[in-house]
């Protein structure tokens, strides 16, 4: 395996760097948005369930 890109190092490593940055950012943002949505929905469902339970008790 040869990692010395010689006079093309800027172009080759620039391409791989931009690709890694873009795909990692997209992955992190997608996973974070999913976790955030799931947590918000769960919290809202729990609030509604607690409200319902209170009404039944009353």
């Amino acid at each position: 395996m040869d990692l010395d890109m010689g006079k093309y190092a800027f172009f080759v490593w620039g391409s791989y760097g931009v690709t890694a940055l873009a795909l990692l950012s997209l992955t992190v943002l997608s996973v974070r948005a999913h976790r955030d949505r799931a947590a918000k929905l769960k919290a809202l469902q729990e609030t509604l369930a607690a409200e319902k339970a209170q009404k039944v008790d009353a």
């Binding site: 395996m1 890109m5 172009f11 391409s15 931009v18 948005a33 929905l41 809202l44």
Partner: protein, 244 residues
């Protein structure tokens, strides 16, 4: 039959939740294998080490087109059957496609400078891929600008379907017009013209990109389903509070 069974958002989430980690794992393995092959393969006798840009540029360009096709098909089903999951699938694909298209343009530019002596040329292939990127951005902006989900779904589906016209233009631009860009060298009627030592890293990287797309798409569709559930519950809560 199976598509209509999966079109139920809750069922879709339940079926694909256990699949997602496997697809993520597959993508990681393929990326590790593909990246090894990218730098273990020989340099090209004409292009030198810049040939290694091909292994990330070409899969990005393939995925830019494939993702738009997915978005177009989902939009078609959303428009005809007015199914929320079809719109969620199209909406979830758009940012992924935009990133792949941006990567195809940027890595193409970084490959073009040392090989063609220019970062950019307004020829058929490059211009039509830029138009594809603008369609993605237009789709995302239009969806974000319309508050009513159903109106947003309808308007963006029409935009996505109009953009499908651009796909054959991109594919055949290298045949129709004079261009700096090379013609097809993998998917040809008489077989690939790329040497096997360079075809393997390209195909493994293409599979890695595809697996990454599937994983991200499934996550983003599920995020859409959760968002719509959340907004629906909040709307019901607001209605009840307002009506009380």
């Amino acid at each position: 039959m199976i598509i209509s069974w999966l079109a139920n958002p809750d069922r879709f989430s339940k079926v694909f939740a256990p699949v997602r980690p496997w697809v993520a794992g597959l993508s990681l393995v393929l990326f590790a294998w593909g990246l090894y092959l990218c730098f273990a393969s020989p340099e090209d006798y004409q292009q030198g080490d810049t040939v290694r840009i091909m292994y990330i540029h070409v899969p990005a360009a393939w995925m830019a087109l494939f993702t738009y096709l997915v978005m177009g098909v989902a939009s078609f089903f959303g428009l005809i059957f007015r199914h929320a999951l079809a719109d969620a699938a199209a909406k979830a694909a758009a940012p992924i496609g935009a990133v792949f298209t941006a990567l195809a343009l940027i890595t193409g530019s970084l490959w073009g400078k040392p090989m063609w002596g220019t970062w950019w040329e307004w020829d058929g292939r490059m211009t039509s891929v830029l138009v594809l990127f603008l369609f993605y951005i237009g789709y995302i902006a239009l969806h974000a600008s319309i508050e009513d989900e159903q109106r947003a779904a309808k308007s963006t589906a029409i935009l996505a379907l109009i953009g499908l016209i651009n796909l054959p233009i991109i594919k055949f631009s290298v045949d129709w017009w004079n261009t700096l860009h090379q013609g097809a060298s993998v998917f040809r009627p008489d077989g690939p013209t790329v040497a096997p030592s360079m075809l393997w890293p390209l195909l493994v990287m293409a599979l890695a990109y595809k697996a990454l797309f599937v994983w991200l798409w499934l996550i983003r569709i599920d995020t859409e389903i959760l968002s719509r559930k959340y907004n629906g519950l909040r709307a019901r809560l607001g209605f009840r509070e307002g009506g009380a």
